[in-house]
Symmetry: C2
Subunit: 251 residues, 2 copies
DNA sequence: GCGCGTTGATTTGTCATATCTATCTTACTT
DNA sequence: AAGTAAGATAGATATGACAAATCAACGCGC
C-alpha cells in the first residue's frame, strides 16, 4: 500500500491494458465500456464504481469520469452519489446515436434487431422519397441518379454493391430537405451493411435495379405518390424476406 | 494577475454565476452551453477554450471538460489539441437527443421546425399504428383506450387536453413493440406541446376525438391498414394546417 | 421494546495543480 | 527557397484533496 507499489502498478501492468484503448484514452474507454454494456456484461452484476473502473483500465479517475459522462449523455448510464453508477434500461438508450447503434449491431446481431430496423426504414424512406419528389433540387436529383448509376456499375463489377446501394438511399434522404430525415443517414448505412450479409444469403443476388430506378424516375417526375409506393415496395420486399426466414441466422 | 485577485474572483463573482447552473455544476453547464450553441451564439465567433469557459462560468476545468464531453457525445462539439473546441455543423447534431430537441424548441421556435417535425410524425406514427394493430397486447390496447378516455374527459374539462393527447400517441408508439418507434416518445410529446400553442390559434379547438377513436378501433380490430390510414389522416390534418398558415407565428 | 436522530462509511461531485502530447507557427539553417 | 528545428498553444492525463449526498448501522431516550 506504499507509494512504490502503486507507482509500479501504474507504470507497468496497465500500460499494456492501455494499448487496447487506442490513441485517445477517454474515447477508448467510452468504446470499451459502451460495448460491454450493450452486450449485457453488466446485466446481473453491479456496475463498478469510478475508482474501480479507473483501476481496472489503468487510467486516471478524470478519464473515467469523462467516459462515464459521455455514456450518460447517450442514455446508457446514470450516476448519483453514494448510489453509484448504474446501467439504464434499454428504453432510455439513445438508439439513434451512431455509437450505440454500432455497438448493438457489432456484437448482438439478431434477426429481430434487423427486423425492427427495417420496420423503421419502411416508415421513413418512403416518406422521404415522397418529400424528395416534391422538394429535391436538381443537384439532389443528380445525386440520386449517381447512386443509381453506381448500382448499375456494381452489377457489372465496376463498383461496390453495398456502397452503391447506400449512396442511393442516403441521397434520397438528403433530398427530403428535412433535417430529421437526414439524421437517418448513418442508420440506413448500418442497416444496409447488416442486411447484406443476411439477405444475400437467401435471395440469390441483391437489390433489384429496376425497383430503384422506379423510385428515381418518380422523384424526377415530381410524382410524390409514385415515389412513396416504389420505395415502400423496395423495403417491403426486404422486410418480408426477413419475416419469412426469421430465426435461422445466429451470428 | 496576482493570487489575491483571482481568489476574490473565484470566491465572489462566480458564486452568483454558479447559482444559475442549478444543483449540479456539470449538468448546469451542459444546459447553458448547449442552449447557447443551438441558439447560434457561437455561429460567427470562435468557440472559447476550456480555460476560458471554466473562467467565465466560475467552475473548474474538470467540470468544464465533462460538460464539453457530453456535448461532444451529442454531436454539438468536437475538440482537438491546439485547434481548440469547435461547434459542429447542424447536420451532425443528434436531433433525437431529448436535450438537443428541447434546446431547439425552447428558444428557436419556427414554423419550419414544426413542419419538419410533423413531416417526421406523418412517417412514424401511421406505421406505428399499423404495427400496433398487429402486435399490441391487451394491456397496450387498454393503454391506448385509456388515452382516448382521457381525451374525452378533457373535452368535458375533467382532464388536461395536451396531456391526454400525448398519452394517446405515446401509447400507440409503445404498442408497436419496436424499440426504435418507442424512442419517439419524447419527440412526439415535444411536438404536441409545441403544436398546441400554434394549431389552437387557428382551428378553434383541438384534435378531433372521432379521428382518434378511429385509430383505436382499428387497432383493437387488428385492422392494420385502417389504423395506418386513420393515423395518417390525423397527422396529415395538422400538417396541412401548418403548411397553409405557414409563417405568421414568430414566437 | 420501539422509534428517532446521530454518526460513520461510501461514492460521486468539485477543485487545484502539474505534466504530457499533439499540432500549428515561426524562424533559422542550408 | 525548401526543409527542419524550436517555441507556443490548447486539449489530454494524472494526482491528491476535500465537499456533498446518501444509506446503514448504531445508540439514545421514551
Amino acid at each position: 500500500m506504499n507509494k512504490k507499489v502503486s507507482a509500479i502498478t501504474i507504470a507497468t501492468l496497465p500500460s499494456e491494458m492501455r494499448t487496447s484503448l487506442g490513441r485517445n484514452l477517454t474515447y477508448g474507454m467510452l468504446d470499451v465500456i459502451g460495448r460491454a454494456i450493450v452486450i449485457g456484461d453488466y446485466d446481473n452484476v453491479a456496475f463498478p464504481t469510478e475508482a474501480e473502473l479507473a483501476r481496472k483500465h489503468g487510467v486516471s479517475r478524470a478519464v473515467t469520469r469523462e467516459a462515464v459522462k459521455m455514456l450518460t449523455a447517450k442514455g446508457l448510464l446514470s450516476a448519483r452519489p453514494r448510489q453509484g453508477t448504474i446501467v439504464q434500461p434499454q428504453t432510455s438508450w439513445n438508439l439513434f446515436d451512431s455509437d450505440v447503434l454500432h455497438w448493438l449491431l457489432e456484437r448482438k446481431f439478431s434477426v429481430e434487431l434487423l427486423r425492427h430496423f427495417n420496420q423503421l426504414r419502411v416508415a421513413i424512406e418512403p416518406e422521404a422519397a415522397a418529400l424528395a419528389a416534391l422538394e429535391a433540387t436538381l443537384d439532389e436529383q443528380a445525386a440520386i441518379g449517381a447512386g443509381l448509376a453506381r448500382m448499375v456499375a456494381a452489377e457489372a463489377g465496376a463498383d461496390d454493391t453495398l456502397a452503391a446501394d447506400i449512396a442511393f438511399h442516403v441521397a434520397v434522404l438528403e433530398a427530403s430537405r428535412n433535417p430529421f430525415y437526414k439524421q437517418f443517414r448513418g442508420m440506413v448505412a448500418s442497416a444496409l451493411a447488416t442486411s447484406i450479409r443476411f439477405t444475400n444469403r437467401i435471395k440469390g443476388r441483391s437489390a433489384s435495379i429496376e425497383d430503384h430506378r422506379a423510385v428515381y424516375d418518380a422523384i424526377v417526375k415530381h410524382d410524390s405518390e409514385g415515389a412513396r409506393n416504389a420505395m415502400r415496395g423496395l423495403i417491403g420486399d426486404v422486410l418480408s424476406l426477413i419475416g419469412a426466414a426469421g430465426g435461422d441466422v445466429t451470428g
